[in-house]
């Protein structure tokens, strides 16, 4: 079996499980929406200030909901030694990495598709025409988050207090993604196009490619029975 078909098989398993239980997706949805309310109450922004704060607030929401998803990413495998069984099967570990990454990516993108328009409604923003560009930037940032997040979730799998440890080691590494997405979105919101933010977009793309490749290569060592 090729890497891609193995990935697809594993991803299908995860999606099927999620469709039956809806643990992660529902909690992430709810948490993301909840954060928007919390932000609204804690900042109580005047309308002209909202656009300035939008990228930062949105990304804070995505970081927190994403971490919530990552913490549950290997839950199904932790039960009943499923991980050992999975590792015993003749699968490429790279496929496991790709499947887990894309699974978390799908969850996060679904959450973002709801949370971003909701943000525009709740904060009375008018710039609906900029959403496609903002989605593109958010997507690239989310890929980077999921790639690195999956690796970090895997190495903290057997740690004590792993839910607490995960953001501690993940967030400092995520700084290029956080800065790049927020600067890109700021630029789009201010000027209506990516324009000056192109170097940032390249940085995002570079980050995604570097760590995606690295993940496929080293996941063998990351996850061990």
């Amino acid at each position: 079996m090729s890497l891609l078909s193995e990935t697809f098989l594993l991803l299908r398993k995860d999606l099927l499980l999620e469709l039956r239980r809806r643990d992660s997706l529902l909690t992430m949805f709810f948490f993301g929406t909840l954060l928007l309310f919390v932000f609204h109450f804690s900042f109580d922004l005047p309308p002209d200030k909202v656009a300035e704060m939008t990228p930062a607030l949105l990304w804070l929401a995505f970081l927190f909901t994403g971490t919530l998803g990552l913490a549950q990413l290997f839950n199904a495998e932790r039960e009943n030694h499923c991980l050992d069984a999975l590792l015993l099967s003749p699968l490429d570990r790279g496929a496991l990495f790709l499947a887990k990454t894309s699974f978390n990516l799908i969850l996060m993108v679904l959450v973002e598709i709801v949370v971003i328009p909701l943000f525009w409604i709740l904060f009375n923003l008018n710039s609906w025409n900029l959403l496609p560009q903002l989605f593109l930037v958010t997507f690239l940032g989310t890929v980077g988050f999921c790639v690195l997040g999956t690796i970090m979730a895997a190495i903290t799998l057997k740690a004590r207090a792993r839910e607490l440890l995960l953001p501690l080691i993940l967030f400092p590494l995520m700084i290029p993604i956080i800065l790049a997405t927020i600067r890109c979105m700021e630029n789009v919101l201010r000027t209506g196009e990516l324009g000056d933010a192109l170097p940032w977009l390249r940085l995002l793309l570079g980050f995604d490619v570097i760590f995606l490749t690295l993940g496929v290569l080293i996941f063998d060592w990351v996850i061990e029975s």
């Binding site: 690796i151 080691i169 590494l173 980050f207 061990e224």
Partner: protein, 235 residues
């Protein structure tokens, strides 16, 4: 084995003595012989500690990267001990750099901390490698902790250029080149005895670094031996 350990211990002692001497000479040169800075005055002398300590910290993180890579490749315990030791000392030197920098920044810039690119990068390094040490301490299984830490040691090091780029752009796209002055060739605007003091200090810090590293490495080895003995006796 005790006979073999003796010369090593002796050479370690020599290394420590050399480090102490070089740092003492460097301090004397920096504090007494070198002239005070034309603009910053006496407080600039902190540089003789600040610069060597950040350079040794970077050396440390490079050694963490090398040790981590070697461990994943060869699975030898000594590479893991090297990476762990280097990370601990690296965190120590990064923290020292930030503390010394703050003490210098307060009279020079008027603030203890500012979000300059270089400062931010150093703070992020401290966070990453503190996370590395926490990861190690929170995983019970030794070999699992070693490979998890090795993965983080590699990823963390590869992330440094990206973080470096992003914080520099963040600062330059936002505000004009800030408080830290652009580097001119050192021989044009730096007094030669300042450079000498800096060089001696740097040599001293390097020696001190390798002295500490060898001590910490020995400690890791001894822990392994004790564990092996316990296993033998079935305790």
């Amino acid at each position: 084995m005790a006979q073999a350990a003796k010369p090593i211990r002796k050479s370690r002692g020599v290394l420590g003595a050399l480090a102490l001497t070089a740092i003492a000479i460097g301090l004397y040169w920096g504090l007494v012989i070198a002239p005070p800075d034309a603009y910053q005055g006496e407080v600039q002398r902190i540089m003789y500690l600040h610069l060597p300590s950040i350079l040794t910290a970077y050396l440390s993180y490079f050694l963490v990267f090398v040790g981590s890579g070697m461990y994943l490749w060869k699975r030898e315990k000594r590479d893991d001990i090297l990476a762990h030791s280097a990370a601990e000392i690296g965190v120590l030197f990064t923290a020292l750099t930030i503390i010394a920098g703050s003490i210098w920044g307060r009279p020079t810039w008027g603030v203890w901390w500012t979000w300059d690119a270089r400062l931010t990068l150093t703070a992020i390094l401290l966070l990453i490698y503190t996370g590395y040490l926490m990861l190690r301490s929170l995983i019970e299984d030794e070999s699992r902790a070693a490979s998890a830490a090795a993965v983080l040691g590699i990823i963390g090091f590869l992330d440094i250029p990206l973080i470096h780029m992003s914080v520099y752009w963040w600062r330059t796209l936002h505000q004009p080149p800030s408080i830290l002055q652009p580097n001119k060739p050192p021989w044009e605007n730096v007094h030669p005895s300042m450079l000498t003091a800096l060089a001696i200090s740097f040599a001293g810090f390097l020696l001190l670094y390798f002295y500490l590293l060898s001590l910490r490495y020995r400690l890791g080895e001894m822990r392994e031996k004790i564990k092996a003995r316990r296993l033998e006796r079935g305790v």
